[in-house]
Symmetry: C2
Subunit: 375 residues, 2 copies
Amino acid sequence: MFTLLKKDKSTKARRGEITTDHGVIQTPFFMPVGTNGTVKSLDFEDLKGLGAQIMLSNTYHLYLRPGMEIIKNHNGLHRLSGWDRPSLTDSGGYQIFSLAKLRKLTDEGVEFQSHLDGSPVYLDPEKVVDIQREFGVDMMMPLDECAPYPCSYEAAKEAAQRTTKWAKRSRDHFLKTKRTDMNQYQFGIIQGSTYQDLREQSAREIIDIDFDGYAVGGVSVGETVKEMFEALDWTEPLMPEDKPRYFMGIGFPDQIVKAVGEGIDMFDCVLPSRYGRHGTAFTHKGRITIKNKEFADDPRPINEKCECMVCQKYSRAYIRHLLKAGEITGLKLLTYCNMYFYVNLMKEIRAAIEEDRFVEFQKEFLTEYGSELAR
Amino acid sequence: MFTLLKKDKSTKARRGEITTDHGVIQTPFFMPVGTNGTVKSLDFEDLKGLGAQIMLSNTYHLYLRPGMEIIKNHNGLHRLSGWDRPSLTDSGGYQIFSLAKLRKLTDEGVEFQSHLDGSPVYLDPEKVVDIQREFGVDMMMPLDECAPYPCSYEAAKEAAQRTTKWAKRSRDHFLKTKRTDMNQYQFGIIQGSTYQDLREQSAREIIDIDFDGYAVGGVSVGETVKEMFEALDWTEPLMPEDKPRYFMGIGFPDQIVKAVGEGIDMFDCVLPSRYGRHGTAFTHKGRITIKNKEFADDPRPINEKCECMVCQKYSRAYIRHLLKAGEITGLKLLTYCNMYFYVNLMKEIRAAIEEDRFVEFQKEFLTEYGSELAR
């Protein structure tokens, strides 16, 4: 599944490839988030046009709507949606704890009420594997318990322990239910909140189960940037070199550039689309709020260093006008540019690693971006 | 400006070309409506991809937002927006009467309150020409008074008379303010509501002023289909053959197919985008509401006879799912397909006229569409 092509000499950055039935993914990479099976305001031509290698979707949302029957009848998500590049789905665990009304959480599984219509739903580790087998995704995450932030030591310990128990059941069930018509990969998720011993113990237990890749979970839940990188620093040395590493839900561009240097291969985040919908653009010089009056008459592209379709054709003044007029097209253009920024950033990172200049790239990027992470 | 290439033998249908500084338009044609300088939910790559030859925008909306200063500073709408194909703007008259709060309407001009912030605005025929000169559009409409429906004979007569007075002032001012750096064309608008003598008199007066083309206005305001076509039938014989003819705000696909046979060259309508946003698709077999439950599991494209990007790649089931989930992408895909349907219908019409089979095309289309206009 994973081929490590190159290790950076001065940092932990890696350059590799993940081979799936829907194509080869160059690592490190960013996964645009398509909660309901689409990235908000973009279509698949847009995603391909801006160079997205993969789309991440949410098991919880798709399980509830359109629901299993329709997904099964279409032989999975790829066929239903028409997305023909690789796919990854999360486990739904995060949304069960953040969106749905919890009715009962036991070691067995979790009963909750749908955020859509309040109807009762039950999920457990085996069922989540079954769902993702039916989805036909290339990579899947197992059901875990994502501790909130802040979280007491006791609660964090309990969540990590349950995550390990569920991880074992998930992997067992995964190995028993292999599809003969396609390759699917399953990642383990490391929990442990902001506690070093819990993070390390979780990492050892999850890695011991032997998944196809490993994710640092329970981050991007409100913790400080320092705590976010601590969770990574504590667990990264324990992760096997020959499997892909995923920093879940991270993050801002500077955090991604930093985390690649800490040995991470995979990222996902709602920020490029969410900020786009709220009128803010990511540029090499940091974020700019295109909606602001100062851009009302600005004939320049959103990001003067950007080569995306939007920056080749549209001005800040026009996009601001569309946003002020409430035009969906404005949201789309800004989201497109933001998503290109993230996807292209990974391309720049990969080139820098290949050309043995990642550490310089990192320094330059963080400085120009005005990042607190610049050293 | 206008070259009549061919006249159909059995109907009044015509095939021609309009030459503008932004390209040659093949007639008959449909103008996607971009009220605020964009077609709702589509970008210009989409519009070009589906074959749009021209975009219509609204003077009233653009005059109020982003406003003249920004448009002037960018040297007009084309430069501001990046749209590089031909453009037409309406006069704003329709919106003054439908959207804004009217304060005072005299033969001199009209004072109203902006629908955005209630601020007072004054427009008169000369000012509307000046605005569109600054916009730098290829074709412009003069300020007119669009009578409501239903309308008393007296009120309709007064509106038509004022429209003629304003048309003379508009044309005089247009001829006095010619730009040296670009060609712009101005259309006359025929009013007269549902009254034959008023329509005929308005047509004679407006045509006597000698515009670059003629529009039948005051239709698509709530009148019956019979009344809509009466307004056309009464005035079409009076219109000169060597100038383009525009049926304003029309309409449903079957009405367009019918009106081409009555000698019309130009159409605009908000229906393809508006219906798209409300979950309804136009197909050769009439309208279908993709949001309906019957399409939840339907793997077919929206329109099985359609060759657009959306119908090549996306299923009814997926688009319905996106619409139900409130995803902007669903609106975009449906709007794209609807707009392609309209634009491509005109292409089919042009081919039919060229190949001397328009009357058969018309009969087949109206029958398959299930139109009340099928004879």
